[in-house]
C-alpha cells in the first residue's frame, strides 16, 4: 500500500514543510516502505497493555509555583534577526 502524494501533501502542510513534486514522489515511496516496516506492530496483541510514554513509567514531577528565574530577554534575543522594542518581527499577518 503506497501512501498517496496527496496524503504526503496534507501531512506536509500540517508540519509546515513544503516540497517539489519530485521530492514528494520520492518521499511517498520511502515513507511507504517505512510504514510497511512499522505495520509489523499489528502482529502482536496489545489489548490489555498500558501504553508507555515514559520509559520508567514515571509521572510528571511537579514543583511549587514560585518564581525562580529572571527575565533574560536581551540575552535571549541575541539570536533574533528582526525585533523591535522587545518584540519579534514577522511578515504581516493582518491587513
Amino acid at each position: 500500500m503506497t501512501i498517496k502524494k496527496s496524503e504526503i501533501a496534507y501531512i506536509s502542510s500540517l508540519s509546515k514543510l513544503k516540497m517539489e513534486d519530485a521530492e514528494m514522489e520520492n518521499y511517498s515511496h520511502q515513507i511507504s516502505d517505512i510504514l510497511k516496516m512499522i505495520r509489523q506492530l499489528e502482529m502482536v496483541d496489545t489489548d490489555d497493555i498500558e501504553p508507555m510514554s515514559h520509559p520508567l513509567n514515571m509521572k510528571q514531577r511537579l514543583r511549587v509555583d514560585v518564581m525562580t528565574e529572571e527575565n533574560h530577554r536581551e540575552l535571549y534575543q541575541k539570536n533574533a534577526v528582526e525585533f523591535e522594542e522587545g518584540f519579534y518581527k514577522v511578515p504581516k499577518v493582518i491587513d
Binding site: K16, Y27, Q40, I49, P51, H54, P55, H72, L75
Partner: protein, 512 residues
Amino acid sequence: MLLNLKKDSTKFPRLLIDDITKEVRLLERYTLKNLVAMLRSRDISSHEILDMYMQRISDHDTSLNCYITLNKDAALEKSIQADKLIESGDSLPLTGIPYAGKDIFCTQGIKTTCGSKMLENFIPPYDATVISNLNNQGAILMGKTNMDEFAMGSSNETSYFGPVHNPWDLARSPGGSSGGSAVAVAAGLAPIALGTDTGGSIRQPAAFTGITGLKPSYGRCSRYGMIAFASSLDQAGILALTAEDTAILLESLAGFDPLDSTSVETDVPKYSELLNTSIKGKTIGIPKEFFDEGLDSASEQLFFDAIKVYESLGVQFKDISLPHLSLSVPAYYVVAPAECSSNLARYDGIRYGYRHDGIKDLDDFYLTNRQIGFGAEVKRRIITGTYVLSAGYYDAYYLKAQKVRQLISQDFKEAFQNIDAIMGPTTQTPAFNIGEKIDDPVTMYMNDIYTISANLAGLPAISHPCGFVKDLPFGLQIIAPHFAETELLNLTHLFQQETNWHQKQPPDLNKI
C-alpha cells in the same frame, strides 16, 4: 609507567613506550586517567596537552571532519589558568583536561548547530547542565563535534557539515549520530567526548571506531540544554578509551537536575571505585533473538570468543528470550519520529534559526525556512511522525507502538529477575562504506536493531571493543537494569584488564 617523557615542552616526544607492553603509544591516545596522573605529577602541563591536541586536530581533521567548531583560543587560555591552579594545589578532579562535546549540547557563547543548516549560526545563551558539570570540575571544552542532523541517523552522513570519516578506513562511516565524538576519541583528537544516544547513537559509533561508549539509564544525566530529538528516548552519554575513563566522567555527569523534569533523584555511586569488584558467579543472559538473522558470521564468532574471556573471569551465561525484540525497530520508528515531529515544530526562524529573506506571507515564511533549514532525513522523520500522530492513524500507529514499548520493557524486567545483565553484539556488521546505505532508509534503520531496545526500555547500556573483522573494530554490548551503570563499568573494566582490544589504534596513528 611511561618512559622517554621529558619535561622540556619544546622537545617532549609524542611517542611513548609503555614499559610493560612495549607498545608504542601515541600520547594523544593516552587515557583520561593517565593524563590526570601526568598533570598531577607535573610530567606535562595542561597547556602542552591542549597544544598537542590542537596540533593533531589541525593535522588530521581535514580528512576526518569530526569537528564543526573549535574553541581554540578560549581553550588554550583556560589551559594556562588550569596550570596555575594545579601549581597552587587548588585543582579540581578534571582541571586542565580537554574534552569534545557533540554539537547537540548548548554551550554558552559557542555556536551550536546540531549538524543542521537550521541552527548554522545559533549561539546559545546558556550551557547544558552536562557541559557545566564538566566545566565545573575543571575540564576544558576544545570544540563541538560533527553529528547526524538533529541526531537522526546511524552513519554521520546526514550532517549539513559533511560526513565524518572512520579513522580505521576513511571510506567508511564511523556510525552515528555521535560519529564526530567517536572519531575524535578513536583518532586521538580528544581524550574523552560527550555524545547522545536515542537509538544507539553512542554505542554504534563506539563499536565502529573501536572505543568504549556508554548510554546511561534514562533520567541518569540531565537533558537540560541538550537539543531535543525524542524526549522519552534521548540520553547524554560518554565516549572514551576505557571503562575506567567512562566511570570517572560519569561521576561528574550524572545526578539529579531540577531543570530537567525527567531527571531522576537517585544517588550517584563512586563508579571509579567500583570497577574491580569480582564478577565471579555473575549470570549474564544472551538473547536468542539477537542471532535470528543478519549477523555476520565472522562477527558472531568474535562475540562468542569474547564470551569465553568473561567465562574465564567466572561469569556464567544462559540463553534467554526477549520475545518482542523484533518489534523494537518498528516501535522506535513510530515513537521517535512522532516525538521529533513535535520537538522540531519550534524551528520557525522567528526567534532563532534559519530565516529566509524577503518573504511577505507568514505561512510561506514558515514553509520556506523549514524547507531550506532541514535536510532530507529530518523531513522524512517529521512527516512519518506527523502521519502516525494524525487523526485516524493515532490509535493504529502511535498508541500501538507505545503498548509494544511496554511489552518490550516487560520482557527486560522479566529477564532481569534471573540475570545480572544481558550481552550481545552491538551491531550486525562492522563499519559500512559511506554512501552504501544512505539511499535506503529502512536498511539504515535496521542498523540499530541491537541497540534500540535499551532506549525504549530506558536501560543503561555500554559498547566495548571485542576484536576485529577484516581489520575493522567490532563491539560487544552489555545491557543492565535501571541505574546499574556500576555493573556495566565493572564488567567492561575487568574485560579490559584481560584483553587489549581497547588499546588498538587506527593504523595511521603509528606513523610519526
